[in-house]
């Protein structure tokens, strides 16, 4: 799931300078689960922007906002409301903002959220980054824990020597990723895997923008 966080309201307002009539769009998937772009958040945003003198011309949730065809269909159906608006505020991830912009070419779209990471839902409202989408999964060698993500430095061959009390040198609250990997491998009797030298990552697999066509 894409984890998002709402921008400060003053940042959103600053992107809306000169725009009076605003159309709000949320997303029924990730942003709803993150409580950044679901029904409740749209209502709250309507109130907050209303209090700042903006008129909300309409608000809707697309399922999902990253699906370009669904976005286009949505705006076909809601042409009137959108055409009355000076701007659309997208309470979606960065992809949603762009598919909305593609789907409504004439109206400017403002992002209300910052997209943070691909996250695991640990429980309601608790999201953790486990994978950075590097393009070459190696976790068979590391006990199913991704060092590229969980080690702050993304090291592939063991701990950096900076961990103290098994915590990372940059944040003493955060577990040292390589200690977690070491313990997992040791528990499984697979410590030998840690002794093999891992090759450098192939960053040509991460050249952006990426595209997949089935």
């Amino acid at each position: 799931m894409i984890i998002t966080r709402q921008k400060l309201i003053k940042e959103i307002l600053s992107s809306l300078t000169g725009s009076k009539n605003i159309f709000l769009v949320g997303c029924a998937q990730c942003a709803t689960l993150c409580k950044t772009g679901g029904e409740e958040e749209l209502i709250k945003m309507e109130k907050e922007l209303g209090a700042e003198g903006k008129t909300i011309t309409g608000k809707s949730i697309i399922d999902p906002a990253c699906h370009l065809i669904k976005v286009k269909q949505f705006f076909q159906k809601n042409k009137k409301g959108v055409l009355k608006s000076d701007a659309i505020v997208a309470m979606t991830c960065g992809d949603g903002v762009q598919s909305i912009a593609d789907g409504t070419k004439d109206t400017s779209v403002k992002p209300a959220l910052d997209s943070l990471f691909l996250g695991e839902i640990q429980r309601g409202g608790h999201f953790v980054q486990k994978c950075i989408l590097c393009g070459e999964c190696i976790i068979d060698k590391t006990g199913g824990i991704c060092p590229v993500t969980i080690c702050t430095k993304g090291l592939l061959n063991g701990p950096c020597g900076g961990s103290k009390n098994e915590k990372c040198e940059v944040d003493r609250e955060r577990d040292c990723g390589w200690i977690l990997i070491y313990k997992r491998l040791k528990d499984r009797g697979e410590l030998d895997k840690m002794k093999n030298i891992s090759d450098p990552q192939d960053y040509s697999k991460q050249i952006k923008p990426q595209k997949v066509v089935l």
């Binding site: 702050t152 993304g154 900076g162 103290k164 040791k186 450098p200």
Partner: protein, 288 residues
């Protein structure tokens, strides 16, 4: 004598370090380094130490070499990708800098430019392999080099890491990757260090023990709380705290640690952490 020759000899090795300035005034660095000429086997030049932006280690090494000191070029994985790392290694080769110390490097978040993009394109084990490959005449993409450098390459290890087993696994990988010597994090607990040396013996690689000049009780407490693998015993903290002349006591403690380390380690690496001016006096005091 080159560090390589010293490593091959039986001599007890003494190295220390110099930190390049934040700015272009190199006078203090030179002034502090001059008294070391002919007195230590080599001097490490730190690479943007603690991720605080400053003059580069390669230029620092060149300056030391010019005044007659054998430099050790510290190279971290933090700031350069594989193109820049290999290029700087070739530059070192051309400048006649033969000793390289490979480190991971502190994260930019620890330094004075926390917004910087952390690189870590290669890690320390992979970079050691790259150094070895360059000395064989090829770059890491297997392209032939026109002229190859000669290096004596070292790495670092933390003998008092909380979890010693993963530290030793990584050390073994570094040896396999081409590390010819090790310099360690500061040692204050001799018994613990001795235990580590026993475990590292099968790697058959020279280990140079780190010694940090203890400046005050406050510094000791800071290191105990914040620096990985350093635990200054209470007895030493009380000793430095009770001393009127901190410089004198600091030298006395360091000289005592060095004496105790002499039968155990291949040498010592003295880190003055701002008290560079005390090194000549420590060299006079210590019995090696």
């Amino acid at each position: 004598m080159s560090l390589k020759r010293v490593l091959e000899s039986k001599k007890f090795i003494v190295t220390t370090e110099a930190g390049p300035p934040k700015g272009t005034d190199i006078s203090k660095m030179i002034e502090e380094a001059r008294p070391l000429v002919g007195r230590v086997d080599a001097v490490n030049v730190t690479d943007i130490q603690s991720a605080v932006m400053r003059l580069g280690s390669l230029v620092g090494c060149h300056i030391l070499k010019d005044i007659g000191i054998e430099p050790i070029f510290q190279l971290t994985c933090r700031d350069r990708n594989r193109l820049a790392l290999q290029s700087d290694l070739l530059s070192a080769g051309v400048l006649g800098i033969e000793n390289i110390l490979i480190l991971t490097g502190d994260h930019p978040l620890s330094g004075d430019h926390p917004q910087a993009k952390p690189v870590f394109d290669l890690d320390s084990v992979q970079l050691l392999q790259v150094v070895k490959k360059l000395t064989s005449g090829k770059d890491m993409a297997d392209n032939q080099l026109d002229g190859k450098p000669n290096f004596c390459t070292g790495a670092v290890v933390n003998p008092s890491a909380d979890q010693i087993e993963p530290e030793l696994i990584k050390m073994e990988k570094k040896v396999k990757a081409g590390a010819e010597f090790f310099q360690t994090q500061a040692v204050y607990d001799i018994a613990k260090f001795e235990e580590f040396m026993k475990k590292a013996r099968p790697f058959k690689v020279p280990i140079i023990a780190g010694v940090i000049l203890l400046k005050s009780a406050k510094m000791a407490q800071y290191m105990n709380e914040n620096v990985a693998g350093i635990s200054v015993p209470d007895k030493l903290i009380r000793e430095i705290d009770g001393a009127k002349d901190k410089h004198k006591k600091s030298i006395e403690i360091a000289a005592r640690l060095i004496k105790e380390l002499k039968p155990i380690a291949r040498g010592v690496h003295i880190m003055p952490i701002g008290w560079e001016r005390l090194i000549p006096e420590l060299l006079d005091t210590m019995e090696v």
